[in-house]
């Protein structure tokens, strides 16, 4: 084959794969007359979208985004100072870290109903669940980033008799930026998962709620449509974090491990 064509094919490969899978799915459903409540064909999923009003869709999407983002922000606000705490104080590391691991080892899906009972039915339990699921990686990545500063740089700081706060603000925290962004990328997708889990347990709107509600009334195509939108939201949020890193900290991009 000619090299220009090969290159084009290489570039288009991800899109072509996606189209091929959707096509196979469509053909399979039609060829074997798979009922829509078992596996709806992509065309059926798309045509199910107008069965709900636009404002209904946007209401569900915004509800999920709201819980995801608030939970995400809360987890960042908690996790970064906590990471600074456990890297700067052995006492905090010895007392707080075991609890973090206990929380991380607890299946959030299992404690979600308990949290809802304890905290009532509002937005608060959903945000708490989202926060619980997304903050752990931020703490761990940030702490390892803060600790990854070369010992010589810390010696330079000591030899200048700089204050601890300058050591953190001017050396450790900037050094941790690539690690923090790796964490933020993982955590944003976890935050969406958290929001959906919370909506499964207790909610009256949101894409997770919509999936649960539509499957219970055998509107499987709508559930699939909600799922597809959920995936798109998650991808867009992820892309937004990548963009933010490239925009604000271009020097950190080549270093980040992803």
């Amino acid at each position: 084959m000619n090299p220009a064509l090969l290159k084009l094919l290489d570039r288009a490969a991800p899109v072509l794969t996606l189209v091929a899978v959707l096509l196979l799915w469509e053909i399979g459903c039609r060829a074997f007359s798979v009922p829509a409540f078992v596996l709806p064909a992509p065309s059926v999923v798309v045509s199910s979208v107008p069965s709900l009003e636009f404002s209904t869709w946007s209401g569900h999407i915004l509800a999920t985004l709201q819980v995801s983002l608030i939970g995400y922000l809360v987890s960042i606000l908690l996790a970064v100072p906590l990471a600074i705490g456990i890297t700067s104080s052995r006492f905090l590391a010895r007392t707080v870290l075991p609890w973090l691991i206990v929380i991380q080892s607890t299946p959030i899906v299992a404690i979600a109903p308990i949290i809802v009972v304890t905290l009532g039915a509002g937005a608060v339990p959903r945000i708490v669940i989202t926060t619980l699921i997304s903050f752990f990686p931020i703490v761990i990545y940030t702490a390892s980033g803060l600790a990854s500063v070369p010992a010589e740089l810390i010696e330079l700081s000591r030899s200048l008799r700089a204050s601890r706060s300058r050591e953190y603000w001017q050396i450790r925290i900037p050094y941790a930026i690539p690690h923090i962004f790796s964490a933020l990328k993982v955590a944003i997708t976890l935050a969406v998962i958290g929001a959906v889990v919370a909506e499964f347990v207790a909610a009256e709107k949101g894409l997770g709620y919509l999936i649960l509600f539509s499957t219970s009334s055998f509107k499987i195509p709508v559930a699939f449509a909600a799922l597809a939108i959920l995936v798109c939201c998650s991808l867009l949020l992820y892309a937004a974090i990548v963009w933010l890193q490239q925009r604000c900290f271009p020097w950190s991009v080549s270093k980040s491990a992803d």
């Binding site: 070369p150 010589e152 740089l153 010696e155 330079l156 700081s157 000591r158 030899s159 200048l160 008799r161 700089a162 300058r166 001017q170 050396i171 900037p174 050094y175 930026i177 900290f249 020097w251 950190s252 080549s254 270093k255």
Partner: protein, 265 residues
């Protein structure tokens, strides 16, 4: 008395990771005169870097005293500049900002005088065109030049260098050695230069401290009678090679279990 740096009966013990005490330095005595260039050479684990950390005030001796201008060192002091094995530049700052970083880190601000001094140092180290580049756009040798410029920002009387050229290729190493000599001639300083390379030590130093390992001791202090200014021609002189062979023999005799490490010239 009257020495710039003086270590007297300095012993340094550490507790190793398995809990047993390790003697890094054992009764080390060393005195440096004003504007003297002294290299410390020896096998790994002889406590070369420990000497630098003691003089820098980063650690306190377990016994004995370390003094600078006859005052005991109790904390890091202003008249010292430090250059490490790795450049340890901050990747988010430009070359210029990396050079002024010590001021920003210490006092929280960089004034015009510091900036002018940084520009001057850039010129001195041949980096003027790279002032606004990031460290990762520079070669290893250039990064180490930036680190040297950074250590000279506050025009320290004392320069402590911990194997500053060991991570560089041989050609760059020679180039930077001559550059260091030139800078040192222009702005004389008292230098403690830790190295693995006999050739480097001979080319640069007034005296060479040969250390033995476990525990770290001063085995011998050798005067380098080579005339200054030294140049590429110095490397070709028979005297240079004779001295190099002498030192190599001395280092060998301290460490019978022959091991290439520590002798690479």
């Amino acid at each position: 008395m009257g020495h710039v740096i003086e270590l007297s009966d300095v012993t340094q013990t550490f507790v190793s990771s398995d809990g047993s005490p390790v003697t890094a330095l054992d009764k080390v005595n060393l005195a440096l005169n004003k504007h003297e260039f002294v290299s410390v050479i020896g096998p790994s684990g002889c406590g070369k870097s420990t000497i630098l950390r003691l003089v820098a005030g980063l650690i306190r001796p377990s016994a004995g005293t370390v003094s600078i201008y006859d005052l005991p060192v109790t904390e890091p002091r202003d008249e010292i500049g430090v250059v490490f094995q790795k450049p340890t530049l901050l990747p988010w700052l430009s070359v210029l900002d990396n050079i002024t970083f010590p001021m920003r880190h210490k006092y929280g601000r960089v004034d015009d005088k510091d900036r002018a001094r940084a520009v001057e140092l850039l010129a001195m180290t041949g980096l003027t065109d790279f002032a606004h580049k990031r460290p990762n756009e520079l070669s290893g040798g250039m990064q180490q030049r930036v680190a040297i410029a950074r250590s000279l920002l506050h025009d320290p009387d004392i320069l402590l260098m911990d194997e500053p050229f060991s991570a560089l290729d041989a050609l760059t190493r020679d180039e930077l050695s001559f550059e260091l000599l030139r800078i040192w001639t222009e702005r004389p300083k008292t230098v403690v230069f830790v190295t693995h390379s006999i050739q480097e030590a001979l080319l640069l130093s007034d005296r060479i401290v040969v250390m033995s390992a476990r525990p770290g001791r001063v085995a011998e202090i050798i005067d380098v009678p080579l005339p200054r200014p030294r140049s590429l021609d110095t490397l070709a002189e028979p005297e240079f090679n004779r001295l190099a062979r002498d030192i190599r023999l001395k280092v060998f005799s301290r460490k019978p279990e022959a091991n290439a490490e520590g002798f690479a010239a």
